[in-house]
């Protein structure tokens, strides 16, 4: 009995990854892409996205759900890169400087976000989601109006012709894949971004270590039961804010890694989709709103991006319309998040009603 429910439970928990394996298995042959191309793409995207997705783990640990506010960190990272490319600091030093610039901004934004989320306990996700929209407005204000007019921007190549504001795309040619190629390695035609992987591995180690620290333990306690943690003397508000700050800072650094791989910044849109795709990828990897592991991150990156690569091709092949696949993958991203949210809420309610059912059964048995 117990074993059976365990297996059913396991299947239930991993239903999303299994579904994606099936989708990918169906689409790969139809898409007709060569294995080496696929592997190359997947490896590239793992290097590009993993760091960003890892930044989501800490707030989940602290019980604050999926941090839609990671967009804030992405904005901080972009601002760092814009400034650095204006100062013409190239290559790895430029990247490091961009990260350094992003950190104080991320801390500030994360603090703001955490403060607000503490005022909206119980609806953190929708609030963090709206915060990302709100900050997008502020970001536009800064980048489109203040940069060049108040914040000095010297180079016309990134400035709009009107004299202030940043162009729609900022080229990062000087940094393009500098990190990925720092230690060049190609195995059978598959280019491995060794240095990026090393950094990601380091972050994984840091996260594992962090879970074992006092702060990590406090976050888990706060995440599971806020009131009990408070009674035990843990400063709940501060702990929650810290978790958001850590997530935002990591997202900022992750964004720099992401953009160095892309080679350019889409100034006004890079960050807006990133939160959604990262969250979808994490969920595809089998994470839920209240539980996520490093394994979920990597499984998610592979499955989600495999789908991302093959779906448009497969869609085009089936319907003869390339847009179908494009829309399909957007739809899947949203659908995955929707399903995960629904499962989370229904499980929460089921856990509550389970206690009642058990008592009723006991009473029945007594009769």
């Amino acid at each position: 009995m117990n074993k059976k429910t365990n297996i059913v439970g396991l299947l239930q928990r991993s239903s999303v990854p299994i579904m994606f394996v099936i989708i990918c298995a169906l689409c790969i042959p139809i898409a007709g892409l060569s294995p080496s191309y696929l592997i190359n793409e997947i490896v590239t995207r793992m290097g590009r996205n993993s760091f960003l997705i890892l930044s989501l783990l800490v707030p989940i640990m602290a019980g604050m759900g999926l941090n839609f506010g990671m967009t804030l960190g992405a904005m901080a990272g972009e601002i760092g890169l814009i400034l650095v490319s204006d100062w013409q600091i190239v290559g790895i030093p430029g990247m490091v400087l961009a990260m350094i610039i992003s950190v104080p901004n991320s801390v500030l934004l994360g603090f703001f976000c955490g403060k607000i989320l503490n005022m909206a306990k119980g609806r953190e996700m929708i609030t963090s989601y709206i915060i990302s929209y709100f900050m997008n407005g502020v970001y536009q204000l800064v980048v489109l109006y203040l940069m060049g007019s108040i914040i000095p921007i010297a180079h016309t190549s990134i400035k709009l012709p009107r004299g202030y504001g940043i162009r729609n795309t900022v080229s990062l040619l000087s940094m393009r894949q500098k990190l990925d190629n720092l230690i060049p390695l190609t195995i059978r035609g598959v280019k491995i971004p060794v240095m990026t992987f090393i950094i990601i591995a380091l972050l994984c180690l840091v996260i594992i270590w962090f879970r074992r620290t006092k702060l990590g333990q406090d976050m888990r306690a706060v995440g599971q039961d806020l009131e009990v943690a408070r009674d035990a003397g843990i400063n709940v508000e501060r702990t929650r804010i810290l978790s958001v700050i850590i997530s935002t800072v990591l997202a900022g650094i992750g964004m720099v890694i992401y953009l160095q791989n892309m080679g350019n910044i889409a100034t006004y849109s890079s960050h807006s989709q990133i939160g959604m795709f990262c969250i979808a990828a994490l969920l595809v990897g089998g994470a839920s709103v209240d539980k996520a592991s490093i394994g979920n991150v990597f499984l998610g990156v592979v499955l989600f991006h495999l789908m991302f690569i093959v779906a448009p091709r497969a869609g085009a092949y089936i319907t003869g319309d390339s847009m179908i696949g494009e829309y399909f993958r957007v739809f899947v991203s949203y659908a995955v998040i929707t399903v995960a949210l629904i499962m989370y809420e229904t499980n929460k309610r089921r856990a509550k009603s389970l206690a009642g059912a058990q008592l009723a059964a006991e009473q029945e048995a007594q009769k």
Binding site: Y129, G137, Y145, Y334, A335
Partner: protein, 356 residues
């Protein structure tokens, strides 16, 4: 409670105003007043500005009105508005596909949209009843998922009307479809009043007034009363023998249907049907409009709808002109984003009694 009123008294009239009205709401109102004063000074055409605000009010009013039933039943702000909008879009495209023109196409669009809205609303309401407490986030993503799903459908569904499909491929709907010859301005032209530059789209306003009146009337009936009670205190309503799930479902269906009608009215004013990703961001302006009008996550009235739509649309239309004339810098988009999302944030962080 007594303590709170004491504090209110000490704060003086300004403090009281802030407390009753909410600081962001006050700022937005003052901002609009400032814009109205500045408009003539910087040389903007005042009557056409007012005309603009009224016109946009008539386009958007019903979409904002669609928020009311769900707020009343305690389902929160309907971030899932796009679902209803899709019903409306289905009504619009099918009506055109079937070859209806002029005012009749508008009527048929409403008739065709209705069953879609009812079916979608039922499914959506059923889902929201399963996940009480997490409505807003899930509503957002239900909206997004349905929009992106329909993106595929617009391409695949067998529409044939040459006015709607891509000319070259002969299939797949265009992103924008002109309503010229269909129901563009159908309502607005009805009993239209025109004094120089100043135009009042009487028909649209009357249509809004009709629906608003029906909503007001509904809230005065037995079922409407039950709906308010469910939103105010669900446990109380249950103890009084109300079937909470049924009432909530009804509110969701109403909201979805109003959104469907709302988008049709919007289109007749705007003159175009916008497909694909367009419905995506239609929920947020409606949500912030009703909040600016004085509603909270679990309280909303028709007055909130009217005031909110006027304020919100006023800012949307006035800012670009005034700003452009004044500093030659069009910051209106940014101001709109910050103001509307700021308003939603403010409402979400308020402690609401009874809302769980």
């Amino acid at each position: 409670m007594g303590e709170k009123t004491d504090i209110k008294k000490e704060k003086g009239w300004f403090g009281r105003l802030v407390e009753d009205f909410g600081l962001p709401r006050l700022i937005i109102t003052l901002f609009l007043i400032l814009l109205l004063i500045l408009a003539p000074i910087v040389g903007a055409d005042f009557p056409s500005q007012i005309t603009n605000i009224i016109a946009r009010f008539s386009w958007n009013g019903i979409l904002v009105l669609a928020m009311v039933p769900m707020v009343h039943s305690g389902c929160g702000l309907n971030f899932g508005l796009p679902l209803g909008i899709i019903s409306g879009l289905l009504g619009a495209t099918i009506s055109i596909e079937l070859g209806f023109t002029g005012a009749l196409s508008f009527l048929m669009a409403i008739l065709i949209a209705t069953p879609f809205a009812l079916i979608f609303g039922c499914g959506y309401g059923w889902l929201l009843n399963k996940i009480k407490g997490g409505e807003m986030m899930i509503a957002t993503y239900v909206g997004f998922s349905s929009v992106s799903f329909m993106c595929m459908m617009w391409l695949v569904l067998p529409y044939k009307s040459p006015n709607m499909v891509w000319g070259l491929a002969g299939k797949g709907l265009r992103t924008t479809i002109s309503l010229e010859g269909y129901y563009s301005q159908t309502l607005a032209k009805f009993l239209q009043i025109r004094i120089g530059n100043f135009v009042i789209p009487t028909g649209s306003l009357l249509f809004f007034a009709l629906l608003a009146f029906l909503m007001w009337a509904f809230l005065h009936t037995k079922t409407g009363t039950a709906m308010t009670a469910v939103g105010s205190n669900p446990t109380f309503a249950r103890a009084a023998g109300i079937n909470i799930d049924r009432i909530r479902l009804l509110s969701v269906v109403m909201s979805t249907w109003l959104a469907a009608i709302g988008i049709l009215v919007y289109e007749q004013g705007f003159g175009f049907v916008q497909l694909y990703m367009a419905p995506f961001y239609m929920a947020l302006p409606a949500v912030s409009a009703i909040l600016i009008g004085g509603a909270s996550v679990n309280k909303a009235s028709i007055t909130n709808v009217i005031i909110g739509t006027i304020l919100f649309q006023g800012i949307v239309t006035m800012t670009p002109t005034v700003m452009n004339n004044m500093i030659h810098m069009d910051m209106s988009e940014v101001i709109r984003i910050i103001a509307s999302n700021g308003m939603i944030l403010y409402a979400l962080t308020r402690k609401t009694e009874g809302a769980k």
